[in-house]
């Protein structure tokens, strides 16, 4: 194979740039990987009965990147064969665009599915990222979970949803 000189894409990223799904997966591709599961979250046109115009995501970027790294470590502890890459977009994101992409690779599809599902649940629980919804007639900050690393009940919920 010809040698190519290129910078490998970051595994964990928080950025205003549009998300490149292929790049997320390529950051963790390995010769033994038999299964790649990619989760992409897209901005929906309706939420809670409101016609959404666009979203604006705000993040505490350095801590958000650390949270992705932590979540990937939690997943690898549970599913040692799986590796994760996570990119989250910030700033204005339009309807139909991706706000997040998570890639999970593993020799085993069960582990790739579980790690990917676990990651999205944990991101929603602990990553310092906030969704500002601009809808027809107003705007609102969406507030979900208190980010609490020590909340073991939350972690169990994420594991259950990952079907483990």
């Amino acid at each position: 194979m010809p040698q190519r000189l290129r910078v490998s894409p970051a595994r964990f990223r928080v950025s205003d740039d549009p998300i490149d799904q292929a790049e997320v997966a390529s950051s963790i591709a390995a010769p033994g990987s038999g299964a790649v599961v990619t989760f992409v979250g897209l901005v929906r046109d309706y939420n809670a009965g409101r016609q959404v115009l666009f979203l604006e995501y705000e993040a505490f970027a350095p801590l958000a990147v650390k949270s992705f790294d932590r979540i990937a470590s939690e997943a690898t502890e549970k599913w040692p064969s799986a590796a994760l890459a996570i990119h989250h977009r910030t700033g204005r994101v339009r309807i139909g665009e991706a706000s997040i992409a998570i890639a999970a690779v593993s020799p085993h599809r069960a582990d790739a599915f579980a790690a990917s599902r676990y990651a999205i649940e944990r991101i929603k629980q602990i990553s310092p990222i906030w969704k500002h919804e601009h809808f027809e007639g107003g705007e609102v900050w969406i507030e979900g979970a208190t980010a609490d690393l020590e909340d073991e009940a939350a972690r169990r919920v994420a594991l259950e949803r990952a079907c483990w």
Binding site: P128, W130, E143, T146, D148, L149
Partner: protein, 81 residues
């Protein structure tokens, strides 16, 4: 001593700035910095039981002691994904 406080999302809007300086006594905790800030902006009180925090870009507890120049971040309930 002075600490820097970073605020996000609705907290940032209530305080009217993404970053403010707060004077706290020597040996103060993150919780003390929050109390000082809440005294300035009464609308923050609604978040007293739902915020979490970070110190110098790492997750922290409200009981953590601060040092001069520390950067504290208060995080309202998150909604990424």
């Amino acid at each position: 001593m002075l600490v820097t406080v970073r605020l996000f999302a609705r907290l940032r809007e209530i305080a009217g700035a993404p970053e403010v300086q707060v004077e706290v006594p020597l040996g103060a905790t993150v919780g003390d910095a929050w109390a000082a800030l809440s005294a300035r902006h009464s609308a923050l009180a609604a978040y007293a039981t739902s915020i979490s925090c970070a110190v110098n870009e790492d997750y922290a507890r409200m009981t953590e002691r601060l040092q001069e120049g520390d950067e504290v971040a208060f995080l309202p309930p998150v909604s990424g994904g």
